[in-house]
């Protein structure tokens, strides 16, 4: 069958068949897993590089300057140069640091990011794992990242790292609640925890339009809580340079620091991917109900382009926050979550339930 850019199941089926013709089912499975693993690794590496470059350029344009311009045309090779430099740096191990935990912490953080990427729906047929409890899987897996942060701060044997890790741990644990609850609001609207079901349910319109008021509120809460989850933007007290040097990853250098650095940007991608999937339709083109003509025009653009377009929009929004607002203090961050976002979230869930029961959505 012809390969189509609109439906990647054609590609995956073609590969599966060509492999099964010549090998046993066990070998076919092993090879497919390897292909998926390598694809995810490559994606993480390339997208991480791209995001770091994008952050520097966006930051520069907000500050009325140009950013990296010399390494490659328009500075495109800047991140590659930076990573080569990081790889060549000496790995300094502090003398009294707990060796095993010190080495383990960056790996925990980066493995969590890989796991979360495996359930992201890039396009029709391009989703590595499709559990029937996909949303639940994502929230539980990202929670494990806190352990990596706390281990990094503790095992570095450094007062600043410890303070930074404690702050960061408290912050991430608190904001997971808001992230989970706002996604739950949309699960109520969709009626299923399975990610591909949620995306397919948005074929008549994105949830943010269909769920009107509670969906918009949930979207705002999700974006705020997502930024706080990734220790970015106005919530980056844990790694605030002007206060406690670099927080929990002060003592890391070389490739281990590169893991933390990369993990932060991949977490940014995951938060945007979840926002896009659950609120903005995933890879679904913009459809409005049953306007056949309009929907047909929107279908011309391949779903994968839709997906990445929406991702870039949300990522730009989150980057905009970081370079505009000052930082919040740790007690203000926690007060924001427990005194404001959580009650609003709970009220929102009740509101959404009432709307779904009575069928008052589009």
């Amino acid at each position: 069958m012809a390969l189509s850019i609109y439906d990647f199941t054609t590609l995956t089926d073609a590969i599966h068949e060509s492999l099964s013709r010549s090998m046993s089912p066990l070998a076919v499975q092993a090879i497919e897993w390897t292909i998926i693993g390598i694809a995810i690794l490559l994606f993480v590496a390339l997208f991480g590089l791209f995001l770091v470059y994008a952050e520097r350029k966006v930051c520069a344009f907000f500050q009325q300057r140009l950013g990296p311009m010399r390494v490659g045309k328009w500075g495109l090779l800047q991140t590659i140069a930076d990573f080569i430099k990081l790889l060549m740096k000496e790995l300094i191990l502090p003398k009294q640091a707990d060796k095993f935990l010190y080495n383990l912490a960056p790996f925990i953080v980066i493995i969590v990011s890989f796991l979360a990427i495996s359930v992201v729906p890039f396009a029709k047929g391009l989703q590595a794992l499709d559990f029937d409890i996909g949303i639940f899987f994502v929230t539980s897996v990202t929670s494990v990242g806190v352990i990596g942060v706390l281990l990094a701060g503790w095992s570095s044997n450094n007062k600043y790292s410890l303070i930074g890790a404690m702050r960061s741990g408290a912050q991430i644990v608190s904001y997971e609640l808001s992230v989970g609850l706002s996604m739950l609001t949309m699960v109520i609207l969709a009626g299923s925890l399975q990610i591909s079901e949620i995306v397919n349910a948005q074929s008549t319109g994105w949830f943010i339009f269909r769920g009107h008021i509670p969906a918009v509120i949930a979207f705002f809460i999700f974006v705020i809580a997502g930024t706080a989850e990734t220790n970015r933007g106005p919530f980056d007290l844990a790694e605030a340079e002007s206060e406690l040097t670099a927080g929990f990853h002060t003592e890391y250098s070389g490739i281990k620091f590169a893991f933390f650095f990369l993990a932060e940007y991949i977490n940014l991608f995951i938060v945007s991917a979840m926002a896009v999937t659950v609120f903005l339709g995933g890879w679904m083109p913009l459809h409005f109900g049953h306007f056949e003509g309009f929907n047909h025009i929107m279908d011309f653009i391949p779903p994968i382009v839709w997906f990445f377009g929406k991702i870039f929009l949300v990522i730009f929004l989150i980057m905009w926050f970081k370079w505009t607002f000052p930082r919040l203090r740790i007690d203000q961050i926690l007060a924001l979550e427990w005194k404001f976002l959580l009650p609003i979230n709970l009220f929102n869930i009740v509101l959404m339930t009432i709307i779904v029961i009575n069928g008052w959505h589009f």
């Binding site: 930051c59 907000f62 500050q63 009325q64 300057r65 007062k159 600043y160 303070i163 106005p234 980056d236 007290l237 605030a240 340079e241 002007s242 206060e243 406690l244 040097t245 370079w323 505009t324 607002f325 000052p326 930082r327 919040l328 203090r329 740790i330 007690d331 203000q332």
Partner: protein
């Protein structure tokens, strides 16, 4: 000395060193902070990293050489320091400088006050996390520095005032460029307000933080915008006007909130007042000499002479004790940063680490001013 630091610690407290190299201590300042969790119990500043013995050096310099050294103390209000020394020497010799000199000196001082406050604003934003404000403030400050370069020959440490007058006459383009800059900056300064002052996060970080009442300010000698944020009317320009200040009308900016936000607002409002002073003076510079003819070797009569000016950071004083020779016997610089820093401990007891950073940047410290 080390024993004193450690024997009074209780088991719950711990010491954190915001060391000499730190992004937000504005220079080489070491703060030994005794913390319990997030709350600050004691802040001990350790200074002296930049101490260069300026007061001792002045005893071996001649009087015309003094202003060059005072530039380098508080380099962000360099010309105001020079003005203080020159006025002190002129007061001792009982020389009256022409009006043209007075006008030029005041205009350059007020421009430098603007530049100093701009740098303070961008660094305050950066300390609190709004990294973009750094570039906006510096972008506008470059224009003032270009004016200085054209007129005085240097961007930061101006070497413009000398005892008896100013070094160079006004450049032909000076008036035009200053007026262009004022027009431009009047449009841009409200942007600063929109970006930082009106921001909810910024206000939450600074409102009711670091409260320091007027009586405490007077007791600790916290002058300048930091003192005026607590309602203490201490502007030397108003109470002992010097140079061309008797010829202008301006308001002394006072806020009564005693917190970091009001110390911030005082400086922003002072930028408007400085622009108003410059506008009143720039078109009316009288003709005349730009220097009074002084003897080759200046000898001050015996006695003590004290002169105060309002530097960007506060009350800057110069005390010259002379014994009739051509070198001063003793020169003392009363720097505003020194007193402001000594009050830091009292100001930040009981607040959190993040508040300590906010309080320190609202005090606008320049460490060479403190260490001399």
């Amino acid at each position: 000395m080390a024993e004193q630091e450690f024997d009074k610690i209780q088991t719950q407290e711990y010491l954190v060193n915001m060391g000499p190299q730190h992004p937000s201590t504005h220079g080489v300042l070491r703060l030994l902070v005794k913390l319990e969790g997030e709350i600050v119990h004691n802040v001990e500043p350790h200074i002296g990293y930049i101490h260069s013995g300026i007061e001792k050096m002045c005893e071996s310099l001649t009087y015309p050489q003094l202003p060059y050294l005072t530039d380098r103390m508080d380099y962000l209000s360099a010309h105001m320091n020079e003005e203080a020394v020159c006025l002190c020497i002129e007061k001792a010799l009982e020389i009256e400088v022409p009006d043209r000199v007075k006008y030029l000196r005041t205009i350059i001082s007020e421009l430098q006050r603007l530049a100093s406050h701009q740098l303070w604003w961008c660094v305050m934003g950066m300390d609190l996390g709004a990294l973009t404000t750094f570039f906006y403030g510096l972008r506008d400050r470059e224009r003032i520095l270009d004016i200085f370069e054209e007129n005085c020959g240097a961007r930061l440490t101006l070497n413009y005032s000398v005892p008896g007058g100013v070094m160079f006459d006004m450049h032909p383009n000076f008036q035009k460029r200053v007026k262009e800059f004022i027009t431009y900056f009047k449009k841009v300064l409200p942007e600063y307000d929109q970006l930082l002052t009106g921001n909810v996060i910024f206000q939450e970080r600074t409102r009711n933080v670091g409260i320091f009442t007027k009586e405490e300010c007077i007791a600790w000698g916290v002058t300048g915008p930091s003192g005026r944020g607590s309602g203490w009317s201490c502007d030397v320009r108003k109470h002992e006007p010097y140079s061309a200040l008797p010829f202008v009308n301006f308001n002394e900016v006072l806020y009564y909130g005693c917190d970091t936000l009001d110390r911030y607002k005082v400086r922003i409002q002072e930028m408007w007042e400085s622009m108003s002073i410059i506008e009143q003076l720039i078109d009316n510079i009288p003709e005349g000499d730009y220097q009074v003819k002084m003897k080759g070797v200046i000898k001050l009569p015996e006695g003590e002479f004290y002169q105060r000016v309002e530097a960007a950071r506060g009350d800057f004083g110069v005390l010259i004790i002379s014994d009739g020779k051509k070198n001063p016997y003793r020169v003392k610089f009363r720097s505003p940063g020194f007193s402001n820093l000594s009050a830091l401990n009292a100001m930040s007891k009981g607040w959190k680490i993040a508040d300590l950073v906010a309080i320190m940047s609202s005090l606008d410290l320049v460490i060479p001013d403190i260490d001399r």
